[in-house]
Structures are given as C-alpha cells and as structure tokens.
C-alpha cells in the first residue's frame, strides 16, 4: 500500500521568489542557535536569535506592506508557517512602533518601574548615548531616531 502523504504543503504563488532569502535566514538562525556562548554575558546569549527573528519578520513585512510585491495569500502563508511573527508585525503597523525591536521591550510588566525598555527612548531624551538593551541588544528603536 502506498504511503499517503498527509503533510503536503501547498506553496502559494511567488514562493519561489522569496524562498532563497528565507532559507538563508533560516540557515543563519540555525547557526546562531548552535553558536557557543562562551565569553558572552548572560543576557547577551539570546541577542542573535532576537536579531534574526526580527530580520525575517521584517523581510516579509516589507514585501507585503511597503513594496507590495507579494500576495495576501503568500503573506498569510508565511505567517502561518512561522516564517514571520504576526504579533510584532501587528505592532509595526501602529504609529510609534514602526521600528520596534522586539515585543519584550514594550512589555511594562517586565520592567521595574512599569516602563518600557531604554531602547524605546528617543536618542535626544536619553542620558546615555550608547546603549544596548538587555533584552535583545537593541541600540535604539524609537520611531524618530
């Protein structure tokens, strides 16, 4: 009896155009996951992961909302397949969050004084000019910067 393939994925049109980039990013992610964290600070260990996840989501978001080069079908497909994070894309659509680095940085409950992360503070309002936020290593993601 022949095997019945149940998990066959049907790729929407235009997938072949974005596939190489997504594969490349996935490869980078795999590399980052296996990277040893010797010599890194505790909080630094996850920064590359956050960075690549952000890049992937940003790629899909730009293609659909900015350059309008992919169909809604393909966009939904990428979100469903986990190539992009729909929650952070939802934030990017809002004014003031256009450049948001990660979702942890805007979670007031994760912060001591019920605020957002220091990377959300515009550069001209900040005392420290050079920062790297503890959550994702962001160097500043306020909209005006």
């Amino acid at each position: 009896m022949p095997k019945v393939k149940t998990n066959r994925v049907k790729y929407p049109e235009g997938w072949e155009l974005i596939e190489p980039t997504l594969r490349e990013l996935q490869g980078k992610m795999r590399e980052a996951e296996n990277d040893p964290h010797d010599g890194k600070r505790k909080c630094e260990a996850l920064w590359p992961i956050f960075k690549i996840a952000h890049q992937k989501s940003r790629y899909i978001y730009d293609l659909y909302y900015r350059r309008k080069e992919i169909s809604k079908e393909l966009f939904e497909f990428c979100l469903d397949q986990g190539y992009a994070d729909r929650n952070i894309i939802a934030k990017w659509k809002k004014p003031g969050y256009e450049r948001l680095c990660c979702l942890r940085c805007i979670q007031p409950r994760d912060h001591n004084f019920q605020t957002t992360c220091v990377c959300r503070v515009p550069k001209h309002l900040r005392e420290e000019k050079v920062i790297e936020c503890v959550h994702c290593g962001c160097k500043g993601c306020a909209s005006g910067d």
Binding site: N112, E127, K129, E132
Partner: protein, 455 residues
Amino acid sequence: MAHRVLRDVEADGWERSDFPIICESCLGDNPYIRMTKENYGAECKICTRPFTVFMWRPGRDARYKKTEICQTCSKLKNVCQVCVLDLEYGLPVQVRDTALSISSHDSIPKSDVNREYFAEEHDRRARAGLDYESSYGKVRPNDTLLKLQRTTPYYQRNRAHICSFYIRGECTRGAECPYRHEMPVTGELSQQNIKDRYYGINDPVALKLLNKAGDMPALEPPDDESIRTLYVGGLDARISEQDLRDEFYSHGEIESIKMVVQKACAFVTYTTREGAEKAAAELSNKLVVKGLRLKLMWGRPQAAKLDGETGLSAAHSGLLPRAVISHQQYQDVPPPGTSTSQDQQLPPHMQYFNIPPPPPQYERTFYPSMDPQRMGAAIPNQEGGGSGGSTENKGDPGLQYAAYPPPPLPPHGGDQYYQQYYAPPPYGYMQPPPEQSYQQYPSTVPPTAPTDEQA
C-alpha cells in the same frame, strides 16, 4: 528553606522595613529618585540575617546602589546602611569612636550565634518601645570631627565601579560599557572591607584620617605683634560679610572685615591681638560657614611689596608729614604709641614704616548697635557727600595687606598723602559726623585740599 516560609518571619528575626537609613552622599544629588524594595532580599553583611533591600540610582553618573547592612546593625552604630559611614559626620566608625572616645567594640558580639541573638534581642526591645541607649547625636561634636568631616555630600563615591575586564585589557564593550575604564588606584586604601569598617578596627581610611587630623598644624601666631588680621580663603558668593562677622565676633572685637570677591577671600582685622589669636586658635581647620569649609590663616603685612616699589622715598614721605604735622592735633589726641616712637627713631626694620600710622580708631569704635541701619534706617549713599576725614579711617586697614588688591590707589610717591584715595566703607555702617578735630591724617595739604579730594 521550606520550613522557614511556614514560620513567622518576624520571630525568626527577619527584618522588614519601609525606608532605608542612608546618608546624603548615598542618596545622590537628584531629589527625584526611584527606589525598588525587596523584602528579605539579601542577608545583612554584618549579622547575616535577611533584611529588606532597597536599590536606587543616585544620580545620572552613578551606579545603582543598594543597602548592604540591616537596619538593626545600622542603628547600633549610627551608620549609613550603604556606605557604613557615620550618619552625622560621614566619617568611618573608627574615626568617630576614637574622636568621641566611645568604645563600642565589646558591646556587639562577633561570633555567629551570639551576634544573631544580640540583634534579635535588640529588635525585640526596640519593638517593645524600649529604645536602645544611644548617645549618638547627643554628644557635642569635638574638634577632631569638625576638622575631618565633610561639609558637602561626596558624590564621587557613587561612581561606577572600575571595569574588571578593562584592567585585564579584555573589555570588548567599548563606549557601551557601563563600568569605568580606569586603572585602579593601589595603595593601602584599597584594602578596605565592610566588617572592619563597621566594627571600627584596622580601617585604613580611618587610620589615614586620624593621621591627617594629627598632622593638621595649629596656626602659629606671627612674631610681629602688630598683626591683628586673619586671612579667610575659599569664600564664595553665598557668604556675606555679615556671615563672617557672625562667625568671628565672638572671639574679640572686630575692627574691620574686608572681602575681596575676585580672590574669594576676606581679611578680618581685630582691634586687639588677643582677639585675633583667640580666633585663630579656635577656628583654625574647622571654620565652616554656611556649610562651606574656609581656610584660615594669619594675614601678612604688605611691607615687602611696597618696599620694592617705593623704597626709601616712600619711607621718607611717610616720615615727612609726621614731622610737619600740626602739633596740636597730636596733643589733643595722642596717637598710638607706635607712631610716636616711630616719629623719633624710624627703626628700619619696622614693617609699616611706609604706611600711615593707624588712625586713632579706638576712639570711635563702632559697635553694631550704634549702626542705625541695623534697625532699618535708610541711609543715603554717603559717597559724594561724606567727609574724607571719616572714610579714610575705614579705608585704611586695607592698605596693610599685600594680598588685598586695593581700590585703585594713586601712585605712591613723594606726594603719597597729598591725594589719598579713600575707599568708601564697603559695609553699611553709618559714618560718623565729620569731626575736623579728629582729622588725624598727616597731611601736608593746605586746608583747601579736602575739597580737591572729594571732587
């Protein structure tokens, strides 16, 4: 630890508090700070019992600071919970105890069980309202403490720690690194630890401070008995002449106070040498006005400078008027003994030989109570209409001290006393009515001269 949670924490001696006991330096310069509080967040570094840890950032250039010892330990020694320095003086325990001769060595046990028992017992008494017997804060601060204590908070202490990676040359964070990129200062002061600081034994900082206190020299009164002036340095705009007067008048009658704003100093002249000596002895090294530590030294005569400038001619001109001086004035009011003797012999070593003799000020010393302005009377500016004869007495002492840049003096020459510049008194004393009989100033000027002066 599970059994701990089930029990009453208070009975276990765990400390819970609502506000930290900290000194001003540790609190930082910003009046608006955010503090976090964690109940039973750490163990006290002295008694090792859990206590409530507060954490805050004292200012923009500061690191985060947190309380290190529990409030019970802090109260026992009257020290800051963070820096373990005395709350009142900001000095190490050892310095304070030595200076006030308190011996608290034996009162606090150092062995583990005993220490914990002692702290708990102390807590219990405090809760029952029997406060511990503390003499801290009631003792009159003694001289050593006054000499050593800081008058302003010392925020340097709050700076970030030195980057340990930088010391090894491995710091890769560059400008982002929140730690200081400096090499540590080595020396005996680098060997500090919190327990020695708290118990007041072998504290290198304390030893240094105590040495410093021992080394501080007392002010030696100068040999020249005619010096009655003290130099006060390190002033700033906040300190007015009245502040100085308030500080100095209790040691003797003040003849005049000259403030030199440009040089941030002042000269306080007493009417008597004893007053000046007393003030120098009692105020040296611990003169603090409005929270500002001032430097106190003896004034120096101006002689050296003027010697070079005017040389013999000045001496001559100084002598000349006195020879010509109208005799009846001296008969009416005999000048100070020095000036008469000076007349006859002119000792070459005399420091003030080129200075007009001190006018007989003792005859009309002005007490503060004689000044109508003190009671609010409005006095018109006397500058134009005032009499040269009275202002000259006030303006005179300033001439004696070299460090004081006098108001634009006329060139000292043969006609030194012909055209004397009379500075108006800088302070608000009302000038006495012009009395010509007191016009003591040796003057070769014909009677018409004073009008020239005033013009």
